[in-house]
Amino acid sequence: MSDILLNIALADDDEDDRILFGEALEGLDIRTKLSLFNHGQELMDYLNLPNVILPSLVFLDLNMPIKNGQQCLLEIRSNPKLKDLCVAIYSTSSSEKDIEDTFSNGANIYVNKPNSFSKLREVVEKVLQLNWQYHNSNLNKETFLFRI
């Protein structure tokens, strides 16, 4: 198995959610390095730093102060340097409209925040596996859309 660390970013204004997410990543087979951001603007400032090592996967909460997830998604997809990032929406909203809108705006994965820690681990592992497959296989990135 590959020993390379997978860089992951999470933007979420809820501190508990950030902590739980970090704990869910520990102990998975895929080795990861997590960068945390308190809101969308913090994430975008980081992604726009010169010489930054881009994460291979970004998790975005939808409802955040200062800059929300949808705004981040649109900025990422319209920026030539960032447009190939794999973006997973990580939200409590399960409205069909939110889901279809974020996919239409370029999200790759839509995750509903699970209610239990064991479910969270399961879901995070599934997202990492899919992301890994899409980076390492001949799968069509234009149709990389999954709701988990």
């Binding site: 198995m1 087979d29 895929i30 069909e96 279809e100 996919f103 239409s104 705006n105 370029g106 839509y110 990492l128 596996q129 899919l130 890994w132 497959q133 390492n136 296989s137 001949n138 799968l139 069509n140 234009e142 149709t143 859309l145 999954f146 709701r147 988990i148």
Partner: protein, 185 residues
């Protein structure tokens, strides 16, 4: 006045044509095989290999060097072919693969699982749904025709596996892809 053109393409043909065009510029004689391998009729210097490798890398083509990774790449390539060619599917995939790569299926299955965070069976489903997505976007085939082409017993079976794998119904997926295209205009 600007215009937008929509295209469809055969990925396998694109890759092979590109490979051929690029390799032709290096003055080596070669044949491109069917499981993602290229046979070259002499041993190349490391320097030349590095040049070829970095040229191909620009097009997203990597030369695989680790032996386990080579097997995984050949298994994935065989899965692609098997799913795209209905005639090959007169034999079971396990038999097809073992015969093609000259290893036992259990061995190949273990190597695959140990190196991909997935199993051959799961990867086939993921790839099958990927092909179904491609056919929905790039052809005029109906779901019934796509189900037939990919050996699903019915549209319901295709829709069921599509939904289970992607979390979306085929119609929601098609709606989203249509919206994405419209946003580009």
């Amino acid at each position: 006045m600007s215009m937008t053109l929509f295209i469809k393409y055969n990925l396998d043909l694109v890759c092979k044509t590109l490979l051929k065009e690029k390799l032709d510029t290096f003055d080596v004689s070669f044949t491109i095989g069917n499981t993602g391998e290229i046979h070259i009729d002499k041993t190349l210097s490391e320097e030349k290999l590095n040049i070829i490798s970095s040229t191909l890398k620009q097009y997203g083509i990597d030369i695989v060097t680790n032996p386990k990774a080579t097997i995984v790449a050949r298994i994935k390539y065989s899965i692609d072919e098997y799913l795209r060619n209905k005639d090959l599917r007169s034999v079971k995939f396990s038999a097809y693969l073992a015969d093609k790569l000259h290893y036992s299926y259990p061995h190949l299955s273990t190597v695959f699982s140990e190196n991909t965070y997935s199993s051959i069976e799961n990867y086939i489903i993921l790839k099958k749904v990927d092909v179904a997505k491609e056919l929905m976007c790039n052809t005029d085939l109906t779901l019934t025709e796509i189900a037939f082409q990919l050996d699903y017993s019915s549209v319901a079976h295709l829709s069921g596996q599509f939904k289970k794998t992607t979390g979306l119904t085929p119609s929601a997926f098609q709606r989203i892809m249509k919206n994405k295209k419209q946003q580009l205009i």
